[in-house]
Amino acid sequence: MSDSIFVQYIWLVPAVSLLAAVITAIAGNRWLKQQAWLPCMLAAAFGAVWSALALVVVAQADEPVAFVPVLEWLTVSDLRVAYELLVDPLSALMLFMVTFVGSLIVAFASWYMAHEEGYARFFSEVALFLFSMTSLVLVANLLMLYVFWELVGLCSYLLIGFYYTRPCAAAAAKKAFVVNRIGDFGFALGIFLIWVTCGTLSYRQVLAVDQGLQQLTAAGPAVLTTVCLLLFCGAVGKSAQFPLHVWLPDAMEGPTPVSALIHAATMVTAGVYMVARFTPLFAQAAGVGTVVLVIGCVTAFIAAFTALTQTDFKRILAYSTISQLGYMFMALGIGTVAGAVAAIFHVFTHAFFKALLFLGSGSVMHATGGELNVWRMGGLRKYLPVTHWTFLCAALALAGFPLLSGFWSKDAILATVWQASGAATQLAGAVGLITAALTAFYIGRAYFLVFWGEPRDRAIEEQVEHYVRDEAHGPPEPLIMKAPLIVLAVGSVLVGAVIALAFGGLVPFLAGAYGVEPLAHATAEHDAHGHAWGMMLLSAVVALAGLGLAYVFYGQPSPWPDRLAEQLAPLYRISVNKFWLDELGLILVVRPMLAIAAACRVLDNVLVDGLVHAVAAVPAWFARLALRPMHNGLVPFYALAMLLGLAVILTLVLFQIQGG
């Protein structure tokens, strides 16, 4: 397989994106102007085509794992740090997903972001993100993984703060960055621990059963458990899991295509990818699986419950993303290859429908002049037909409507969780089902509120009518914006079914990334259970019930929502206030930290600044006093100093005066 050019030159995918970022950064404002999206678009499209071909090559290979050496970054005697890429089913699938969804979102953004300040800056940063993200999924070395992990974080920071003049965007960017640092700190510690224990950071050695894995196991159970927990800590930050999920809803301050690309489809799934990649480690670590499962479960439920009552359109979607990521971690918590495959399956389908939901919300925002409150919208389906239909597809897919893509992948997760032994997993399965009902309900609520009924706000209605009629903007739904929506909608509808029915699920394909033995094991397990028909039926019923209830509540004017909110006031308040997690964080973490920071500031001003000034002042004082007079410009004096210095030197060696 490694002799195929699509694998050998896979590095072209990130390289072209980097090139596009550089070109756009240099030439964007001055020469490209409104064409600034083109380099990024071409790079993403090239990446999509190339990675699709690579995916085909990988799928047909007998031995589907290839390490592609690209650059030796540093080589000194035994130390060798290489930019080496790993092409296997897992990375190929992720790469395809990133570039494919990425290219569609870039096309959409070329329309969405037009007339914005910093058009070129936007696409330069997006291209940089694509470079970082594609590298992140391809690299075969933990150090490089960390580098790109931080780079995507940086891009995320830059793009959340894209409208940096708005205080709330700047604050959101800062919050995302700081919260991610907490996770990354653990991640870095985990990497250090692997380095200390194994002496290498290459996947090739760390994941090899007879090398890194053995060393980690031999170092004692605590070491392996600690490593996995620390790595998971990084994933919790990046993939917005409880309790570090608080940054993701605020990240919606960024432009909507960014929310679609980074904060829904790709970057936030990096944590899932990383845990899936290290499943061989997680499978051996005692107790870690349960932690992952519980965190995933809690996140999925809390986020879905919060989403029930939110009024901000994008925030509903953000909580939905958090909840879906929770599902993925539930599957990963099982700690088997089958679990990892189910998680990646959900990552893949989720990328389609969640990106589509965000793009749809972007279209709605354009039409309503940036309005985000779902209670002020309504009846938009007659103004924005394409947006409406595609949004519906995505919403149904998210809700788990039978036979749509979300249905298959969510079912795969629930089935895996359900079938795993243990009381915790049974409980998790139950929570998963409840969450599925909540999911169907909240997305149905958002859909009906936005697209059905009559407009609830006169001003918004006028704005939308004006937007649809006014030809100055161009048509309300031009081709460049419609095409990505339609492609994604087709994907949302079909991808799951195609994978599940035509290819018999992802297990046979993806388990190849984990070697032959796990593949056989996972396939056997998969075949033994087949499709869990019971679970399928149950989740279909639950989804339909949720959607139906949403229709009853919000499909037409109804007294039920208010009445229910009164009846269940405590629960309602919990949901509206997002479990008071932000407030809790404020009291428990932020306030004490600020107090410590204030104390540190005093310390800093007095002690550290004093020291710094001393570092600058004392040597200068010393030099002025003692050294300067020596440099008096007299040749005989200089000669004397040299000879006296020589005398000192000779004294030191002749009389064996040795330090130490």
Partner: protein
């Protein structure tokens, strides 16, 4: 290599070297300073030759020859340089050359007192009686 072979030579060469070093530091005349360095070099050359004799090979002699050759080259440069320096100050005193130093320091030894008037006229040497002195009045030398 028994020490006795070279002891006396080494003592002499060290003495030469030290005298040269002391002369370099103590003398103010540019030419004398350079001659002091020459003295040091000759001390080195002596020890080289002595070591060569003691070891029974020619490395030392060859080295000494090189030292002498390089010393000659340096002497050529030194003469040119001293000439230029003399033209500027009409003095060979090394203390004239201490303008480049750390700002704000005073040299331990003050500069020589500038003579009331530094003549830039050329004083040609007296020619033997048979010759005719060239007619050159009030010519100045370009001190560039």
């Amino acid at each position: 290599m028994p020490v006795e072979f070279v002891r006396n030579y080494l003592i002499i060469s060290s003495v030469l070297f030290s005298i040269g070093a002391a002369g370099f530091v103590a003398r103010r005349n540019l030419i004398t300073m350079f001659l002091s360095v020459e003295l040091m070099l000759q001390g080195v050359a002596l020890s080289l030759v002595a070591f060569g004799r003691a070891w029974g090979n020619y490395h030392g002699e060859v080295f000494a020859l090189f030292v002498i050759a390089v010393a000659a080259a340096e002497a050529a440069i030194a003469l040119a340089l001293v000439l230029v320096l003399y033209r500027h100050r009409h003095s060979l005193d090394v203390f004239w050359w201490q303008q480049l130093r750390e700002p704000g320091t005073t040299p331990p030894v003050p500069e020589p007192v500038e003579e009331a008037e530094v003549s830039t006229e050329v004083h040609w040497p007296k020619l033997p009686p048979a010759g005719i002195e060239p007619v050159r009045e009030k010519e100045t030398i370009d001190v560039g």
